[in-house]
Subunit: 264 residues, 2 copies
């Protein structure tokens, strides 16, 4: 919501429109978009036309409503395969989830949010897209905090002001001070807990996935509920989670480049 900052160039503006459409969560009429748009009719119209012709949007001819296009799905498919850890981490998630019998999340940092990239659910077998692709707050989730903890100071400093500490539960940390203290604990331990800070009854342990140079690539978490287990019990699993995270990191590292097919 509110005003977007830097909208570099025409491309930026066009992409903003995509977000607008996405925000509606349903097919949307021209006029609805126009209402919430900073651009005049003609301009918005041209954006929609371009995006539609590019397959980024889809115009339903019956009722003249725009929806996000299939090209996005295609591109995201490629993104998932190439950019994220997901394809590498997949077998490890399978293993960890099977062994522990609990829900496992793989997340990456997306600005000051966490983006869930993959998931294994203990009970329900499939959750698809509807879960992967979801975003959540960084400051009150296990994966989020553990990634923040291992960021460089200046990177963290850039991110913190972007956060709007919302008190999801009475355990949520809602000040920069409290969060910073927690982060330094996490850095020391090498793993983070979510102590029902995001959803009541939901707890987890999370470990960071770090590159050889110490860059944060993502995070892994083992999630459960207070009805099923305790933080102490989860802590016992921390080593297992961490070792899995490390192995994913190693795998990612070795994969990192089909590097050096430079000359011939």
């Amino acid at each position: 919501m509110a005003t977007k900052q830097s909208a570099d160039g025409t491309v930026g503006k066009a992409l903003e429109v995509l977000d607008q459409v996405a925000a509606f969560g349903r097919p949307v009429r021209f006029s609805e978009l126009l209402a919430g748009s900073p651009y005049p009719k003609a301009t918005l119209f041209r954006f929609l036309q371009t995006l539609t012709s590019q397959g980024m949007l889809n115009l339903d001819p019956d009722n003249g409503s725009y929806a996000l296009g299939m090209r996005l799905v295609r591109l995201a498919h490629a993104a998932w395969r190439q950019s994220s850890l997901a394809p590498i981490a997949r077998p490890f998630l399978d293993g960890l989830s099977a062994e522990m019998g609990e829900t496992v999340h793989l997340a990456q940092l997306d600005n000051s949010h966490v983006l869930y990239v993959d998931k294994r659910n203990a009970a329900v077998p499939i959750e698809m897209f509807s879960q992967a692709g979801k975003v959540g707050p960084a400051y009150c989730t296990g994966v989020g905090k553990v990634m923040l903890a291992f960021l460089s100071e200046d990177h963290l400093a850039r991110l913190l002001p972007q956060m709007s500490f919302h008190r999801y539960t009475d355990k949520t940390l809602v000040s920069v001070g409290a969060l910073r203290a927690e982060l330094s604990d996490i850095r020391r331990n090498g793993h983070a807990f979510d102590r029902e800070e995001h959803e009541p009854g939901i707890i987890c342990v999370a470990a960071p996935i770090l590159s050889a140079q110490g860059r944060v690539l993502g995070a892994l978490s083992l999630t459960s509920s207070t009805t099923r287990t305790t933080l102490a019990a989860l802590e016992a699993c921390a080593a297992r989670v961490k070792s899995t995270a490390t192995r994913i990191a190693a795998e990612a590292e070795s994969w990192r480049f089909p590097e050096d097919q430079k000359h011939a």
Copy 2:
């Protein structure tokens, strides 16, 4: 591959770059992109900069390689929820797959290709993104043919020339004539078969998902292999597939608009 047609405006060009990056299937260097790009250094550079700053691409600071960004995943998530049939169809897929014990695909038409939007696998429990988002040829898959069959004549006429009939197996239909004959059969029956036309040993029955006005919204298929079943046996399931498709269509229709919250 080959030359892209209409690249409307700056936005179009920028989006093309995304495809380029996607095509590599791995993080990619500036110079690699430059090599395969019609644009001069400076221009390409600015595109990459813009796209990166927009989160559509991700520049790995370590090795200066670009990968598709997380914003795409976020947008695709939204696309999946809002535009496609997937969220509506989900429970129906679950039901059909469970009942039949076979693989079920939900697909939509993406130009002259089919895009697999969701899937239930008989054996393996999870396949995620790696399957949803995949594209395939329309003229030699069950879902593809059944969607083509129910297209308006002029729409079909526009699509046919775009297809480059590749003989995947010795059963593949590789001429417009043969395909047209098949399509008219399909229209008559209300369902299509894939008789190992795409992959040897893989067969399926597919039914179209049509809007009330007869527009093609997508298609549903039940897939198996010749080692497990026969076309005749699949034909027996056709009615079940069709009725599921119809029910999805009905659901989609009724959902089609939270319509008319016009005045207050």
